[in-house]
Amino acid sequence: MTIEQFFLMRHELLLILAAIIVLIAELAVSESGKTKIIPFAAGLFALVTAIGFIPAETGTLFGGSFQTSSLTLFMKNVLNLAVLIIFLQSEGWLKKPENSERISEYFILTIVTLVGMNFMISSGDFLMFYLGLETATIPAAALVAFDRLKSHSAEAGIKLILSSALSSGILLFGLSLIYGATGSIYFADIVAKIEPSPIIILAFIFFVAGMGFKISLVPFHFWTADVYEGAPINVTSYLSVVSKGAAAFTFSIIVFKVFGALFEQWQHLVYALAVMTMTIANLFALRQDNIKRFLAFSSIAQAGFILLGILGANEMGMASVVYFVLVYVFTNLGAFGVATSVFNASGIETISGYKSLYKTNPKLSLLMTVALFSLAGIPPVAGFFGKFFLFTSAASRGYYILVLIAVLNATVSLYYYLRVIKSMFIDQTDEPIAAFRSSISMRISLIMCVSGIFVVGFASGIFEYIREISQLFF
């Protein structure tokens, strides 16, 4: 083990370092100057993110427990980027007096969960995978319960941690069966010995259930809406984008890498889950008024679409999933950014409260519109490309009916996205949300989102790059 080899882990190491620096900074600043940690941490994280983009070697460490490839590096960068945007958006919320004592904790916990996700993505055995998963979940529960003055926040926290405990129990049971059947927890060994025996399939279904919890697939999704609604809005966006994105990455990696040989068996499973997820989530989203709950169901539906990419089970599928998550980062964070701004300025987080927003805050409304169109998959914004590639991936395997169901679901989803747009543009009210200016950091984050929404689609290079590294992965 040489020092260079540690550079393979630079994402994780940097993040840990960052967490420690924030921890030290917390001790260094005075009681009154705690808010200064916010720009400091955000800046630090920006640096970490930037370093992450430097091209690096890839390889395997710890006898296969830790693996990197261009693809995993890219995934981590995507997550870093998302977290950076979220940090920029959290400023207004963190500055509130009730949070003043816990600013650094927010950053540390977030970064630690991110470390967990990174390890999860890079894991080469199920033990690392499991530990990454838990590292990504347990502190998240604390983040969800961060708003200690709000009972909803506490309720969301307990719901998250208990359901996640159950789901990881089921997941672990599956893993134990896999270990029993194959004699190893290392992916490389398992692949060599895996075969479609009932016990493996059973274990796989348990595994999918556990992962389905993280990606929030129907019927493992029920926690999502409550937790998203109760959590502080920035944590919600973190869960819906980063946590879900990481889970989707990991899921696709493991499904392709470890269970690739079982495609014949799991395609039906994923098919059924995709249909259920899209449909049920859309049905629930139809009548939500709380914007966070609404976006929760929307994000569940998006997870259903991701399954279409996974169903492709080839480099196209992989690329489409990664690309979709990349698009989803910008899109969803754009929407959450607007929701955050509005919430910070007015305390309103219902769709009906957005009436006539366009009159008072045209730029935010437009941004929200673009983000929602992107979520709905309307060209020319990036969401269209993201969905299109997912569908292409599914169609390449001949799942035309599934694609049809998915596109019809996208149409239904358009209905509820348009409801928000209708509220902002069409509905009239005497007391719209007053005009306000967002903070600088919020604006930077929104600009990042909107440029991402427009650029990621049209710049075909991005997709081609993802496709290339996905090809290397296989």
Binding site: P380, F384, F391, T392, L408, V412, I426
Partner: protein, 501 residues
């Protein structure tokens, strides 16, 4: 830059220009300038096309350009036009130009209005120049989606629900379409080789019959929804009734043509075998649509509803004629698209102008308008005559070509349905004259209407442009018809390879 790309670039630049304007005056002037340039471009394109054909250029598509976009999926930005696309671009140019002037008076959020309107136009232009199914689909959706805001924000009546219905139904159609397009793509190389989205490339291969049978209905209905194919037309009356003037114009005038154009350019051209096998189903549907729309229009009381049902009837005729799959009928179909586009745009423009004055569209509340607003009334009558197929106006040329073409079928079924469809011309006359009789002629019903003022300059400009176009096609149809027939050659050739007759 390729001249065709300009058709997308100019509107985009116009939109950017509007962003820099301060108020509604600036916005409309910039839009007018942009769309005038676009109209000139369209006219130039038509002339250049005719010139090129005259000079003996025999390529199927002219001014083709091809830029690789997503290499891994073989998605290109591929453009090129034949006579049909040129004609459709010309139509779009005219209607958009007229639409801008018809909405000259929009002052509420006018910048946003013009941006959305031009975005819609961008989609339409892009659609017609595309040769790549992906780009085509992309532009298609770009054209459809601004409708929601245009109707929802600037519309009237039950605008939210209409806008929602329209958007969802059209997007539902595009859902079907998307499946069809995937089917085409993944079957575009049945003998091995690279898959492609390019229409001209796909046209060279024979897509397996089973795949054709499966995907043809998806593609055809997908486009058909936008083309107001019975029974997927119900978005049209509500949508048109609620939409603001220019939007109705563009939507009925141009956007609905995307449906018809797609039906033959994609569905029938690429899947001729299935088209032949399944034509009869859709022929029956469209025959129903033609007659049914006309009868439906008789009973309506709202001017826009009348016109919307009339559009169902006329657009039904387009698809009806396309399915006849011979040169004359398809020529007629395209003429009908152009003709219907122009005259329905004219109709909607006039309805908007009349509504702007009388504040009602209920025909029972109007009467004798000929006396107070003679210019609008006369133009309305001209539009009505065009609609009922008066010789000398475009409707006649189109309908006659359709009927003569459709009747050339050896099969009795086709001739019988032609006769049934032809009977719609009588019904059309009934509802057109009913409206004209009620609202324009007779004594004035409402005292307040005595104070109405006639059209102002921009309204005149808008309507006269359309009237001239309608009359030009009606009086001298030969060049247009010949151009279209020439361009239909390859399509017919591909279709007739499988013709069982």
């Amino acid at each position: 830059m390729n001249i065709l790309s300009l058709f997308v670039v100019v509107p985009v630049l116009t939109i950017v220009g509007i962003l820099f304007t301060k108020d509604f005056r600036g916005a409309r002037v910039v839009s007018a300038i942009g769309m005038s340039i676009q109209l000139v471009l369209a006219a130039a394109l038509v002339l250049m096309y005719l010139g090129a054909r005259k000079a003996g250029v025999t390529d199927e598509m002219l001014w083709t350009a091809d830029y690789m976009w997503f290499p891994s999926l073989n998605i290109h930005y591929a453009i090129g036009v034949d006579g049909i696309a040129v004609a459709m671009i010309g139509l779009t140019g005219i209607v958009v130009f007229a639409g801008i002037f018809a909405s000259w008076g929009v002052e509420y959020l006018s910048r946003e209005f013009f941006i959305s309107l031009i975005l819609l136009a961008t989609g339409v232009f892009g659609f017609f120049i595309s040769l790549d199914l992906f780009t085509m689909f992309l532009f298609y959706e770009v054209a459809v989606i601004p409708m929601y805001l245009l109707i929802g924000v600037w519309g009237s009546g039950p605008k939210e629900s209409s806008a929602m219905k329209l958007t969802l139904m059209l997007m539902g159609g595009s859902a079907l379409l998307m499946v069809g397009l995937f089917g085409l793509y993944f079957n575009s190389a049945p003998d091995g080789g690279a898959l492609t989205w390019n229409i001209m490339e796909i046209a060279k291969v024979h897509i397996p019959d089973a795949a054709q049978r499966f995907f043809f209905p998806f593609t055809f209905i997908g486009f058909g929804v936008l083309g107001a194919l019975f029974p997927f037309h119900t978005w049209s009356p509500d949508g048109h009734a609620s939409a603001p003037t220019a939007v109705s114009m563009l939507h009925a005038g141009v956007l609905m043509k995307l449906g018809g154009y797609g039906c033959f350019r994609v569905a029938m051209f690429l899947m001729p075998q299935a088209a032949h096998e399944m034509a009869w189903i859709f022929i029956i549907l469209t025959t129903i649509s033609v007659v049914y729309g006309a009868f439906g229009a008789i009973w309506q009381k709202d001017l826009k509803f009348i016109n919307a049902y009339s559009s169902v009837s006329h657009c039904g005729l387009v698809i009806f004629a396309l399915l006849m799959m011979n040169k004359t009928a398809m020529d007629g179909a395209i003429l009908q698209m152009i003709s219907h586009g122009l005259m329905t745009a004219l109709f909607f423009a006039l309805i908007g102008m009349i509504y702007g004055r009388t504040h009602t569209r209920d025909i029972r509340e109007m009467g004798g308008l000929m006396k107070v607003i003679p210019f609008l009334a006369v133009v309305y009558m001209i539009a009505g005559f065009a609609s009922l197929g008066l010789p000398g106006l475009s409707g006649f040329v189109a309908e006659m070509t359709v009927f003569v073409g459709s009747f050339q079928h050896q099969d009795l079924f086709h001739r019988v349905v032609t006769i049934i469809a032809a009977s719609s011309i009588v019904v059309t006359a009934v509802y057109i004259l009913r409206v004209v009789g009620i609202i324009l002629l007779g004594p004035i019903k409402n005292e307040h209407h005595l104070e109405l003022t006639d059209a102002v300059w921009f309204e005149r400009l808008s309507t006269i442009t359309l009237v001239l176009a309608v009359a030009a096609i009606g009086i001298a149809p030969l060049w247009l018809s010949d151009t279209i027939q020439q361009s239909l050659g390859p399509i017919i050739a591909k279709l007739t390879v499988f013709n069982p007759f």
